[in-house]
Symmetry: C2
Subunit: 219 residues, 2 copies
């Protein structure tokens, strides 16, 4: 399977969506963007996932993040299905566009094919793929989940917070980090530079190697 | 960037590890296996990540899951670094093997290259890639995170629980699902079949489309 992966530029495809025809690069503009596929409209896990994305609309807006859903169903199907999503996720509106890819061209180019899932005609179906794309149109982070496993939109938000904080402050975040917890100073920053960059100070963990690479600070 | 992706079979590579030379298929055997790369030994985020994997050893063992770490450092470096990981993650032992890929052959074949990160000689470095591999040696789920963003090992456990439950009970799990919460009956199961398969019963959500696809049960 050929694949788009971390660091690659999203191709500037023209796609039909519930909000009209868009070109991916124009849609992304200068924003962080989440492009996420689902296997099919009117199916159970997808309804909970797109509902959760709708419920988190304000969380994404606060972070300046655009959303774009995608499956191989057509626009009319998406529009009908949105009524179900909104009924299930009471109080939330699907305000983001959902793209239609009946010819399976987009899912192939965006590494969103699930080879284990086919429709009744034997056509490929999308996986639960999710790419976080930076304002430079490059893929910063990817999740590839199978049909059986709904994604965790809280992990999407956590990862977004890390990516945006890292881009702004030149820091990195440890395993299982949550917003508000200490962050790490990357190895590319010397102790001298760190004193300038982080006047709030930092703590260096003592380690058997005596190497001073595990440095925590708050930003 | 060529890529291994969802549904692909892991190549049966022979790799040098801290536990000796192994062939990937022999190591996987009949188990679920997590193969995860890190950018480099003696670096901060990686230390917290491999420490968290060590701290969760019993969680993985309870699920019958094997772990295999991987970076481009050599085995001697890994062995020295493990002392730091264990000192930082007090009370935990790194009992899983860590593979060495100084020639960058394995990370290329396993779609674990981070094109934005190079070592001081200009060589590629691994991303924070993580593949959950099934007993059939196929990739069931992938995470691709950049150097700045430590993975969330709680999400790894959550996804594993979903995958294993789906494989056992022919169910799927909704967005943000956690163990113990209701699961979904997939569209491939008719209502008649569902009555047989889930004698504990199931609830069908009423939706504007009147379609009966959103069916919750407990397993």
């Amino acid at each position: 399977m050929p694949g788009l992966t971390l660091g690659d530029t999203i191709p500037n495809l023209e796609v039909e969506t519930t909000h009209g025809r868009i070109k991916l690069h124009d849609y992304i503009g200068d924003s962080w963007t989440i492009i996420f596929s689902h296997p099919g409209d009117f199916t159970p896990v997808c309804t909970t996932e797109l509902g959760k994305m709708a419920a988190y609309t304000e969380e994404f807006a606060r972070r300046g993040v655009k959303l774009l859903g995608l499956s191989c169903d057509d626009v009319q199907s998406h529009k009908e299905w949105i009524k179900d999503i909104e009924a299930y996720t009471s109080g939330s509106k699907v305000t983001y566009p959902i793209a239609a890819d009946p010819n399976r061209e987009i899912i192939k180019q965006l590494n969103m094919v699930d080879p284990d899932e086919k429709d009744s005609s034997g056509n490929n179906l999308p996986s639960r793929a999710l790419h976080i794309v930076g304002p430079d149109k490059k893929i910063k982070l990817s999740f590839l989940y199978p049909a059986s496993t709904g994604r965790n939109m809280d992990e999407v938000l956590r990862a977004l917070d890390s990516l945006q904080k890292a881009a702004k402050h030149k820091i990195a975040t440890p395993a299982n980090w949550k917003p508000g917890e200490p962050v790490l100073i990357p190895p590319s920053v010397s102790n001298e530079q760190a004193k300038q960059m982080f006047p709030q100070g930092f703590q260096t963990c003592g380690l058997p190697s005596k190497k001073e690479y595990l440095r925590f600070t708050q930003v």
